[in-house]
Subunit: 195 residues, 2 copies
């Protein structure tokens, strides 16, 4: 199996987990294994969903029709990083290309800057798990100075539609935001006529 | 509600029917009502999925991840028509723009031409139901001589991946085919950040 069939396989596996009533624990164990399979090979992401832009890109690849999970290609150009933000749901991050650095932030008393905590560097083929209960606020940045880095994220909601928060780096003040997506079209996973 | 939200609503309604275990009868009654809502207004189909080409176009708009149903935009330019073909599954056809003509064909003894049967003309907002048990072999053509016609089809399978048949107009001989889809990308229904 190669090409877009690899992504279709992942989507169908995650859908079966959701249909079987998986909760966060099952998604973070069995879903992580599926994502490891997906990012084990870098031969399937269409170029339109791998293109860097003037800011980091969040390309939706698939959203479960009942919005139980979504799959997103994040593309960081050199020097690009997210603001300090939360997710409010479980997440899986699989590194496809390049490397990314995730820095956890711990919120302090109102008016004080969030403090950096754990730092994790993700290399191609590696999968990280996050849970709203244990690790929810972070900054992600490209760890490669001279090329784009791409990771495939899977979250326990339609992440681009979820109202969540960014945090002021000086005061920690939370501001609600809905990220949306960069793209108006997503890959067609369903043409099997090529074999 | 306007724009792509209308299509998202249809997809979520059909998904709920499928999750509730709908069989052909339920899809053809309750699904038809959902499709009537969808084609009642022509304000939501993105232009990329409404463009005519040198042959008729079959643009996938959505495929259920478990491949229980699919939604396709068919675009006929002036003079364009399908070969004589079957579907093997239930189908709903909602006319969005222009008019189309469906001519049923009845297969005769081997070596004889299929005979034309019922002819149905579909006007904007109208929905037709087809069942593999009662009406499966037909030709569809643009009924408007000078403009494209567009209908939204929903079938009880991933129709572009299903092995089905076209029939020789002289001999009735069946040949297996898999239609595939015209498009490599499908609409992103899931960005709710615009409100
Ligand atoms: Fe994040
Ligand atoms: Fe047909
Ligand atoms: Mg194709």
């Amino acid at each position: 199996m190669a090409g877009i069939a690899r992504l279709r396989d992942f989507v169908q596996g995650m859908t079966r987990l959701a249909d079987a009533g998986a909760g966060e624990a099952a998604f973070l164990s069995e879903g992580a294994a599926l994502l490891e399979d997906l990012v084990a090979r870098d031969d399937w992401l269409p170029p339109a969903f791998a293109a860097a832009g003037p800011g980091y890109r969040q390309y939706l690849l698939h959203c479960d029709p009942a919005e139980r999970f979504s799959v997103v290609s994040f593309v960081w150009g050199p020097g690009q990083r997210t603001p300090i933000h939360d997710h409010l749901v479980w997440g899986l991050v699989g590194q496809l290309r390049g490397e990314e650095l995730s820095t956890e932030y711990v919120l302090g008393p109102p008016g004080t800057p969030p403090r950096p905590g754990r730092r994790d560097r993700l290399r191609p083929g590696e999968v990280a798990k996050v849970s709203a209960a244990t690790y929810d606020v972070h900054v992600v940045e490209n760890a490669v100075p001279d090329a784009p880095s791409i990771s495939i994220h899977c979250y326990g909601a339609n992440i681009g539609a979820l109202r969540r928060h960014v945090f002021d780096p000086e005061t920690g003040e939370a501001r609600g935001f809905i990220s949306g997506y960069t793209n108006d079209v997503i890959p067609n996973l369903w043409d099997r006529s090529g074999g």
